[in-house]
Symmetry: C2
Subunit: 153 residues, 2 copies
DNA sequence: CATGAAAGCCATGGTAA
DNA sequence: TTACCATGGCTTTCATG
């Protein structure tokens, strides 16, 4: 973990908000020269702090407005059972996020689908058919109150 | 909701993976001309399909590697109580995502913190002190199995 | 040693045919 | 769709504190 000064933090903050900002605008915003920003960005990339630049898409606009939180329990805890499930998770594009959890359930996933029927299909034909899965419990989101990709710095 | 042809879908897919791709590379990848890509992107932006371009940051590298899922229950269901809570959520940078939920709890939040102690502080001094909040239940993530910002198209 | 100023190259976005 | 052009951003150099 790299230690960051105030200007590094401001650079990270700006790039998390807008990945298209030019070095000149960035320089003005963070109070450094454009060349200095360039060098700092390179260093932050090399240190693994800054990752990919991605374009965000409006879920409603492409008919993926329904979010479901799905808790999953494994039917055993051997490495291969878990790895098989994690491969399944990686391969399914509708599973946006997945966490291995402490507590009553083994995994928590966020699944995006067009509608309830599509979720039913996902559950019945994909998830619950998977040999690693012992059970699942789903909760539908009523609204997406907040969504951010920016971590506090 | 705009209807998309195959090329639109490929453009969205590419931009979700790499927001820095040039129109020329994009054109080659999706099988259209660069000018055509440019026009389609403009139209997708105007239709609200394509949103911001953001830079992703490695949570571990900046000391925000601990994810906690926090279920929250309101102490009443009037509009102002909910709005006060949602403002709180927006204002706290460590709350990355928040959903209004069906089921036993009213909200589900993902909170990123440096360590367990910081989460304790967040709970005791911020969340549980909030006048809208009746109770909360937290679950720690052991691993971030999958994280994607790309919706299926 | 890192920074800021300056300048050139080149790739890119935008346009016209 | 293809070709072109001008804009401006990226990258390097160099002097400075």
């Amino acid at each position: 973990m790299k230690d960051l000064d105030a200007i590094d933090r401001r650079i990270i903050k700006a790039l998390q908000e807008d990945g298209t900002i030019t070095h000149n605008d960035l320089a003005e915003r963070v109070g450094a020269s454009s060349a200095s920003c360039w060098r700092r960005i390179k260093a932050l990339e090399a240190a693994g702090v800054l990752g990919r630049t991605v374009r965000l898409v409006n879920p409603q606009a492409i008919g993926r407005g329904v979010n479901v939180m799905c808790n999953v329990r494994m039917n055993s805890y051997t490495l291969d059972v878990r790895q098989a499930f994690e491969k399944f998770v990686r391969d399914r594009a509708e599973i946006i996020e997945c966490f291995s959890m402490s507590g009553d359930w083994d995994y928590l996933m966020r699944v995006v689908v067009p509608d309830v029927e599509a979720y039913n299909h996902f559950m019945m034909h994909s998830l619950l058919n998977h040999p690693s899965v012992a059970g699942a419990s789903s909760h539908f989101a009523l609204a997406h109150t907040k969504y951010s990709t920016a971590l506090p710095v």
